[in-house]
Amino acid sequence: MSGRNVNDVESALPYGGDGLDWALLAALSDARGVSGDEGRVRDIVAAAVAPHVDELWTDAIGNLYARKRGERVAAVATTVRRGVGGPDAGANEPGSPAARSSEPAVPPLMVCAHLDEVGLMVVDVDGDGMARLAAVGGVLGAAVVGQRVRIGADGVVGVVGLPPAHATTDAVRARLPALEELRIDLGVTTRDAALALVQPGDGAVWDTATVDLGPTLLGKAMDDRAGCWALAMLLRSRYPMDIVGVFSVQEEAGTRGAGPAAHRLAPSAAFVLECGTTDDTPKDRDDTPVMRVGDGPAVTVMDSSMVADPRLVRHLVAAAESAAIRHQIRAPKGGGTDGGKIHLARRGVPTAVVSAPCRYLHGPQALVSKHDLAGMVALVRAALESWSPDIVAPIPFDRPGSPHSLNREVAP
């Protein structure tokens, strides 16, 4: 990571932010991993969290799980360290087959961030050696025109060409290019030469190195490597209860990884750590933003995929206020997260989302604030440290005077 000297720009970060591993965030953002091709990112995460967690395993679709035992059980439990799954992912899950088939006696808290990023996929190679492409997740054509990209496992360099200004007609200037019109120039002239470099199905992402701008960071995949990074930071601490960090796959392709993970873990509650769009650049209408960079981590009330559990929202806001962490409420607009799948798993999982505000996400240069990220780690840590199972205890339904007055399930 290159960058300015932080101290030239601003004083020390709040919430102990200067002690956080910012180089890890840069490495994560720079790693290539479109939906379905998260292996490189998963390996970085696994290496970063392995020294701090009690169990580490993957499942059949590539989700990475990191269990941090609670303070009470950690004292007596034998530390189990598992290898990280590769092609045989899923084979190394802890527990006997019998144990796997039933819900754990004390369900853990699930904290989830997604490994994948949006990008491109090579779908074919033309006779002139140019690669045809498709979007993986929500990517505008304008976000890739003129951009250098890296393709596949070997990081082959290509460029999505931008015609020069003097050779561009007014008609072309007036509209954004559709992704389907674009091709990746691999610098070769024949189909055979191109196929020696890339194959249909290869993922491609922007060739962007993270830059430290002082109070902010600029990188390609802050959505959601910022969440992965925050989760890795959180897993360095121990909490009163069991935490399972889930680094999920394929969020950008339709929140596909988190649902199976929540089904497997049957957690008592879930926190999703995301990186969310802000819509906070100046405009002439006083009807926005969704959230602002610099105003702290954002708590979701509702989005397209989920109504956040109001008890968790209250807990997060209370934790922020008691620890004096600047925070904001995300405007309830469109957009969805892994929470949309997690909260509908099994009998329902109380779920909340905390987002790092991000400008220009799903593009080559996404901007996040270190203050917000330090606040996000501090906020979720405070929420976990002050966690009580009572927060998500079943809603009571006393019926005064009734023989069926109950605060528990009816006996058979």
């Binding site: 006083d286 926005t288 509702m302 109504v307 009816v410």
Partner: protein, 391 residues
Amino acid sequence: MNPQTASASPSTASPSTVTNAPSAPLLDALATFTAAWGPSGREGAVRDAIIAWLAAHAPTVDIVRIDALGNLFTRVRAAGGAAAGAPAGAPADDRTAPSRPARILIAAHMDEIGVIATHVDATGFVRCSAVGGVPIADLVGCRVRFESGLEGVIDAEAIARKAAAGQTATLDMLYIDVGAPDRAACPVRVGDAAAYAGGLVWQDGGRRAMAHNMDNRAGCAALAEALRRAAAAPGAAEVWGVFTVQEEIGLRGARTAGFDVPCDVAIAVDITGAGDLPGAAPLALALGGGAAVKISDGGMISHRGVVGWLERLAADGHIPVQPEVLPGGTTDAAALQLTGAGVPAGAVSIPTRHAHRPGQVIDIGDLEAAAALLAATRIGPSGEAWYTPQD
């Protein structure tokens, strides 16, 4: 023939004067449930009203649990008191026990559509986005109510509206005026939800009723009344009444409820459209024609066996029904049908005019018919050729 219309005599006052009137508890349920505020994800007051109604009118209905999302699970055991295996949540294979009663799940969603605050501007006006399928262009002029009881009116920016082709209001033009002088004094916070303001009004001498949230408080009332009748005289089947959350934003409560209570038959009770309006799109559903037995809608094709069973139950009970083929929209039954390995599912609907608008009109006879038909399901599907206990 529709016994309701055949025997109804002219009446001008209250519902109690209607000949062959629905039960007083049913009307009480409709009144108290429509008075409760509850856009999607904020169903607590509706749930409380239902629990209070059950306590008052049907104390022998088991209130089993409220789940993580807020679904309310209630149960009427089969005659003889036998539960269908162990309580739900136990391993699913308990349902293979021989001679257990059939388990019928009836779902009515508690939530209503609304809006949710996204921004408060410097001059105190509230911007919002939609909760569920609100008719955005027709929100202009609607009064909405927040949880605190605060009411506001929605309008659209005049200039933006004029500039837009067709002058149709879009969400970004809309604002809510709650009478606040500026942002600091505005009592609305980002994330506060609002539903239509309104109330229950009796029409046509009590034969019809209008409310801002007949969708789906009418269904909740029908289900609560059905549970009351079932508890008074249990049948061969165990009936689970599930009052679900978040139907209007994607059948979300029904998904977890279906996982939670594996059942042999699933039925949703909800409102549907009506075609007996000036200039209405062709739709063979009329107010006063009876409860609608759903054949299909935009999200589901009902199980043919369940449809036939409901129609026979209606015929046996002299309950007026009409078939429903709804081109769009769907109900909790669509989610329940795809639960686990699949569940035979159908729906009983209450024809409703002006659905998703601030004045939703139903026929009380249709509501009574829906309650009666749902109550009749407690006899169970055991004699049906299509019925096999799910496992």
